[in-house]
């Protein structure tokens, strides 16, 4: 068996692509892993490979332009197309200045004090580069004495800027400026600062993605920071925000389940309720829940009530229809069998319909819980903004997208793991299903299955006390 006539073992090659055929488990798990790794790889590639996309230049060194009101500082992004134009503008400005210095009127009519002020600005233009090279700390970016020393070191070649380094032309400019400055004073002197115009450093930068796509490591590091964010005055901590959001999702969802499931089951069981309730429900669900937001605020006023109500409106009508459909999907033969066994109409509902639809309804509810999560963001914008959405909203407005991404991913993770957990629970709650059989030997399942047995035991011993002889009994 399994051997060819030549004695070699026959190896059956399993195809990767076969219509409606399940893959072997090791392949399936590899693909599951890849399904998460692949998007992460794409994100990393786009973030870390400079030749992929990177439509912007992130400025490491900036400069002011004369008579232009738009000011870019280091850290800003400009488009790749505009960057050379920007550099050229500064260069020609420098050329003009050199020509002007050689002329009879080096100040070109401006006062010494205004030139001095402009020069101090030029001095500080080097600060961001010094900071990222670690020559000064972020608190020292306005300590002109230190920056003055740095100019000296750069110009004299005593120290070299490395990351980022200065371009040849900027080193040249630094030397020229230092020569001019040192001629006035070897150390920084605010009152006796050079009053002849200095050359501007030519802008430098490196290719970068727009700020709305932060790199993975950036998101990861700020993610931790975001998660640990403590409460501050009125602002709740991140953990409090998560709790608040979950309360709204589950509050709205449980409320609609509490009302929607009984109605759905009734509609699926009795044509009377189906005809009475379903047509209107079918109509109502096409009215988008967010359109009711102002109405809900008017009815429920502030705080969480209108938010929970919005999640409710968004899921309730779907729930009635989905549950009634599932109820109708119950095998009719089971109902007939029950009747031939003597079940009355009232018993059919409690002893056949409800236990029969539970596993499918459980799956419906998992899908509907996903719906509830999608309403969260809109719900939290209703009335007073709150929870995770308020954080996303405010940080997004400041373009702090590295703080926004972790929260978006966090919402996804909460939803995903809730669903995975519920899928796992299904096998335990419904041991009569196919999944249930595989699950019954699971160690966690054994523990969880033990609880209802314990309750049952406690319950039965309470309700049926030991029989005591009573007077009048035979």
């Amino acid at each position: 068996m399994g051997e060819s006539p030549s004695g070699k073992k026959l190896k059956v090659k399993e195809p990767w692509f076969a219509v409606r055929r399940e893959l072997p488990s090791h392949r399936a798990s590899v693909l599951t892993a890849i399904s998460f790794i692949l998007p992460l790889l794409i994100w990393s590639a786009v973030s870390y490979l400079p030749f992929l996309w990177h439509p912007d230049i992130k400025l490491q060194l900036s400069a002011d332009r004369k008579d232009v009101t738009t000011v870019y500082t280091a850290g800003d992004r400009v488009s790749k197309e505009f960057f050379p134009e920007f550099q050229e503008a500064v260069r020609s400005q420098n050329e003009e200045l050199e020509a002007q210095l050689k002329s009879d009127d080096p100040l070109a009519g401006s006062s010494e004090s205004s030139v001095r002020r402009a020069n101090k600005k030029v001095l500080r233009h080097l600060a961001p580069v010094l900071e990222s090279n670690g020559w000064i700390t972020s608190e020292q970016t306005k300590e002109d004495e230190l920056i003055y020393e740095a100019w000296k070191d750069v110009a004299t070649g005593k120290r070299k800027l490395k990351s980022p380094g200065l371009s040849e032309e900027n080193i040249e400019i630094a030397k020229q400026n230092w020569n001019a400055m040192s001629a006035v004073s070897p150390v920084y002197d605010s009152d006796n600062f050079i009053s002849v115009p200095l050359l501007s450093l030519v802008p430098q930068g490196k290719p970068s993605n727009p700020d709305y796509l932060p790199a993975p490591h950036h998101v990861a590091s700020s993610g931790l920071e975001v998660l640990m964010m403590p409460a501050e005055g009125d602002r709740p901590s991140m953990v409090q925000r998560i709790g608040h959001s979950i309360r709204i999702v589950f509050g709205g969802f449980l409320l609609s389940a509490l009302i929607g499931i009984p109605i759905g089951v009734l509609c699926g069981t009795y044509a009377f309720f189906s005809r009475l309730i379903e047509p209107f429900t079918d109509f109502f669900r096409y009215m988008p829940a967010p359109t009711f937001s102002t109405l809900l605020v008017a009815i429920f006023l502030a705080n969480d009530a209108p938010k929970i109500a919005l999640v409710f409106v968004g899921t309730f009508f779907q729930m009635v229809l989905v549950v009634s459909n599932t109820t109708r999907g119950l095998n009719m033969n089971l109902l007939e069998a029950a009747q031939t066994l003597g079940a009355k109409q009232s018993q059919l509902l409690t002893h056949v319909v409800i236990p029969g639809i539970l596993p499918s309804m459980y799956n419906d509810l998992r899908i509907l819980l996903g719906w509830a999560w999608t309403w969260l963001v809109i719900a939290e914008l209703v009335g007073v903004k709150s929870g995770l959405t308020e954080f996303i909203e405010s940080q997004g407005r400041y373009r702090n997208f590295d703080l926004v991404f972790p929260v978006i991913i966090l919402i996804g993770l909460i939803g995903f793991f809730t669903d995975q957990f519920l899928a796992f629970l299904r096998g335990i709650i419904f041991p009569w299903t196919k999944e249930g059989e595989a699950m019954s030997s699971h160690p966690v399942a054994k523990v969880i299955l033990f609880i209802p047995r314990l309750i049952k035991k406690a319950f039965s011993s309470k309700t049926s006390p030991a029989p005591t002889p009573q007077a009048g009994q035979p």
């Binding site: 007939e336 031939t340 002893h351």
Partner: protein, 300 residues
């Protein structure tokens, strides 16, 4: 088709013992009486008559089979008897009382598997008595007996999805019997089983029937099954469903598989077959077969 054999006997012919048995049978009280039952279904093209003037009686402890071509309304008939459909005309009497709706006095075994998947084997068997308001302590012991009877004691705590098709139908029989019905209605209960399991189940059912005080009405489309199991066979014809003939099976009891080739068995089967497929008497249409083998293949 059954080959016309030279020693073919008249299916009417009964040995004195068999004759005696039928005389005794007909002296027993009538359990189920079907009086001129007619069933019409409204369709877009007017009313279609599924059953026309069905009139017969089932005696106590009788095993009756209903057979007929597809579309003869045999399922409709049994559903009316079970109370799952309402006849258009006529009456169904159980022990002389008219039947209205389904009830535990008529146990039913369906062709499809109808065990409740969320209940264990034992809980399934206990379902009927529980519905009719018995105390759970006594019905549990009772259910064990029924499960023991169908040989599934080891599986009493299993769920239906863990059982094979034959086992499921055995539980279904036990479940129907646990209500102690007056008659057991069986709608092609072994139709979905493989041939071997079906043969086992047939022998099994005869065993149960012989040992219990139970009347059975059994629907099938399998001639062997009908002749093997039944005291009498009700043959229906289609369009509309009408009684063609009620045949007294002359094969002596106790039955066994060896009787499948006995002259009475073959004669009865032959007769029913001719009732159901009258058009098959002559030669069939001439068929033309395309050539499958290629030149050079090693074929004669």
């Amino acid at each position: 088709m059954i080959p016309p054999s030279p020693d073919i006997v008249d299916y009417h012919e009964q040995t004195p013992e068999v004759k005696e048995r039928f005389t005794q049978l007909k002296q027993r009280p009538v359990v189920l009486s079907v009086d001129n039952v007619t069933k019409d279904f409204p369709t877009r093209n007017g009313v279609v008559r599924a059953l026309h003037d069905i009139d017969f009686e089932v005696y106590r402890r009788e095993f009756m089979c209903v057979i007929g071509p597809s579309g003869c309304g045999k399922s409709t008939l049994i559903r009316i008897l079970a109370g799952l459909e309402i006849q258009s005309e006529g009456e169904v009497l159980l022990d002389g009382n008219p039947v209205a709706g389904p009830g535990p006095d008529r146990g039913m075994v369906f062709q499809t598997y109808t065990l409740f998947p969320w209940l264990t084997v034992k809980q399934n068997v206990m379902f009927g008595p529980k519905m009719t308001g018995h105390m759970s302590a006594e019905i549990e012991a009772d259910a064990r007996q029924w499960i023991d009877m169908v040989g599934l004691s080891k599986f009493e705590n299993s769920y239906p999805h863990q059982l094979s098709g034959g086992m499921k139908q055995r539980v279904a029989i036990a479940r129907a019997l646990a209500n102690r019905p007056r008659i057991l209605l069986m709608d092609e209960p072994f139709g979905a089983l493989d041939a071997q399991t079906r043969a086992q189940m047939q022998a099994y059912l005869l065993e149960i029937w012989r040992n219990l005080d139970i009347t059975i009405l059994f629907i099938t489309h399998d001639l062997d099954e009908a002749v093997y199991l039944a005291d009498r066979i009700l043959v229906l014809k289609a369009n509309p469903g009408e009684i063609d003939e009620i045949i007294e099976v002359s094969v002596p009891r106790p039955r066994s598989m060896e009787q499948f080739i006995s002259p009475e068995f073959i004669a009865t089967k032959h007769h029913i077959n001719q009732l159901i497929h009258p058009e098959q008497k002559g030669d069939g249409p001439v068929l033309h077969f395309p050539r499958l083998t290629e030149a050079g293949d090693d074929v004669e």
